[in-house]
Amino acid sequence: MAQPKPQTVFAPWTDPDAKPLIRFRNVTKRFGDFTAIDDLTLDIYEKEFFALLGPSGCGKTTMMRMLAGFESITEGTIELAGQDIAPVPPNKRAVNMMFQSYALFPHLSVWDNIAFGLRREGMEKDRMNTRVEEMLRLTRLERFAKRKPHQISGGQRQRVALARSLAKAPKLLLLDEPLGALDAKLRQDTQFELMDIQEKTGTTFVIVTHDQEEAMTVASRVAVMDEGRLMQVDTPAEIYEQPATTYVADFIGDVNLMKGNADPKEGFVLLDWAPNQPQIKAETSKNFAAGQELHYAIRPEKIAITAEKPAEAPNALQGKVLDIAYLGNISTYHVELPGGQIVKAQTANTRRLANRGFTWEDEVWLSWTATAGVLLES
């Protein structure tokens, strides 16, 4: 689905000749008999902004710690720029990590925390001062330079940790939930700042986040993980529009899932999903067997909600408004179909609240095109 515009589109993963910066080859990590990372194979390319997404405890931090050198690899190999990193100690790796717990040095001021890595490098004083000031400006910490970590707020600490890991301008930067404690505005600014840094320095970022929107905004590719395994690795748009499994569809964003049996036709599939309901028509290039059990996944914003039955919609269902969630810019309508199934439909609130079209208990029509949803094997 990637548009072939080789000059402008950054997509080294589609190029079979591109050399990945990081190569996970069948990597397994066990703690005792608990498997934290399970046979993981993955390539990350230079200058990528790679986001790791997944529920708590799925192994995101463990993956990063293996890259940084704090966790040994039980099986398999990790290569960094073509070299096996297993024998390289953490202080010799061109990798910096921002810790989930920040790990700021409590006995050093904010300034000295940021300068710590530069001092170790033996950077000369003038250049170091300039660099630290630059980092302070970037993270808006100029006023707090003299304070100790226990004298600043949680969000400020997070920015110090970020500044400290950025200061050395490493080849690979690992950010473990770097923006979790920031307010929405500052978070957005920092996200753009990170992307800007990345464009300027060409650093490769691997970022862990619990915030899907963040992953969508900043990432060149997103990996969705579950229980130590990769569920899908793809661009944000692909992950969102073409999830590979119901798990990914459900984990990223809001989705309506309908289970049914396939009735394959030429170029599309009709899905029997509930008795006394019209079949769902879905265009697909995949081949399914007749009667095969499938899930149909469709995003709420792809569903239009109208008072009258639309004239020419491939899919149209009637239902009753059960609930309305007003989210400011958008509203989500929970519509109950006659069989009891609840479908979510989203519309942008282009008008003021008072002019809104529907209210509770209204009979409405839901409609969508044949290409709006995807069919997933169970």
């Binding site: 810790f99 717990s101 040095f105 006995h107």
Partner: protein, 273 residues
């Protein structure tokens, strides 16, 4: 909340009397002009004079100081290293045995420790003197240091060391630049504890000292067996004075440090224009 009550006042007085009465009596009698310890013969400082001219006591004091400083310093270094290994190294074969062995001298009767050290020194043909006392004191105070330091290390966030490694430190640099400054208070109290234990010790020193070196507690003990002399009272009063000055200085220093820190914090909080 702070109301006066006779019960509180009485228990306070009794408690303090119990603690300090013996010492006060000792201090008072050190200024006794009479040679008889129990008979008050007027105020005098003559025993301090004779004490200063008493070579044997001065030698013993010098030995005690040397033993204390050297043994507590070595014990602090070794004890900190042992603590670091036990808290950080994770599981390795013999870990339980090792940690058990470090703590063993803590519960071992001093007589046994002293005796076994004596046998060892005789066995390897080491001449007993100040060196053997230092070795013995290092041995038994090291485990106290390691207990104090490891309790601090357990609470220490491992990620700090990892962050230091991540930013380019070797393991030793990470320890020197990050771990040590943070656990410094525990290391210093470990040193003070070891020093106090060394000053205190009579039993182990008696086993391991030779004719060439006698510590102050040994000297006092042996002279008291011939009868308490006013000179001993004077010496003990001096020791009390030294300890008091030490404690007061330490608390003043720490108070000044905390005031300075508060001031720094205030400055840091001022918004720079």
């Amino acid at each position: 909340m702070r109301r006066f009550s006779w019960f509180n006042a009485t228990s306070l007085t009794l408690g303090f009397a119990f603690l300090y009465m013996p010492m006060i009596i000792l201090v008072i009698y050190s200024f006794n002009a009479s040679k008889l310890v129990t008979v008050w013969g007027g105020f005098s400082t003559r025993w301090y004079g004779t004490l200063i001219r008493n070579e044997a006591f001065l030698d013993a004091a010098w030995v005690t100081l040397q033993v204390g400083v050297v043994s507590s310093t070595v014990a602090t270094i070794l004890g900190t290293m042992a603590a670091q290994v036990m808290v950080r190294a994770g599981r390795f074969p013999g870990r339980t045995l090792f940690s058990g062995m470090i703590y063993a001298p803590l519960v071992m009767p001093e007589v046994i420790t002293g005796l076994s050290l004596l046998l060892l020194f005789i066995g390897i043909g080491l001449d007993r003197g100040i060196f053997t006392i230092i070795l013995a004191h290092t041995t038994f105070s090291m485990c106290y240091v390691s207990v104090v330091v490891s309790s601090r290390l357990v609470a220490f966030d491992r990620a700090l060391e990892e962050a230091a490694l991540d930013l380019g430190c070797t393991h030793f640099e990470a320890f020197r630049l990050v771990t040590l400054p943070i656990i410094a208070p525990a290391v210093i109290s470990g040193w003070l504890l070891a020093f106090t234990l060394s000053l205190d010790d009579l039993v182990i020193a008696s086993f391991t000292a030779g004719p060439s070196a006698t510590t102050l507690p040994m000297k006092i003990w042996s002279s008291v067996r011939l009868g308490v002399s006013p000179e001993i009272n004077a010496l003990s009063t001096l020791m009390i004075a030294v300890v008091t000055i030490g404690v007061v200085t330490a608390s003043l220093l720490s108070k000044r440090a905390s005031i300075r820190r508060q001031q720094e914090e205030r400055e840091a909080f001022q918004v720079t224009p």
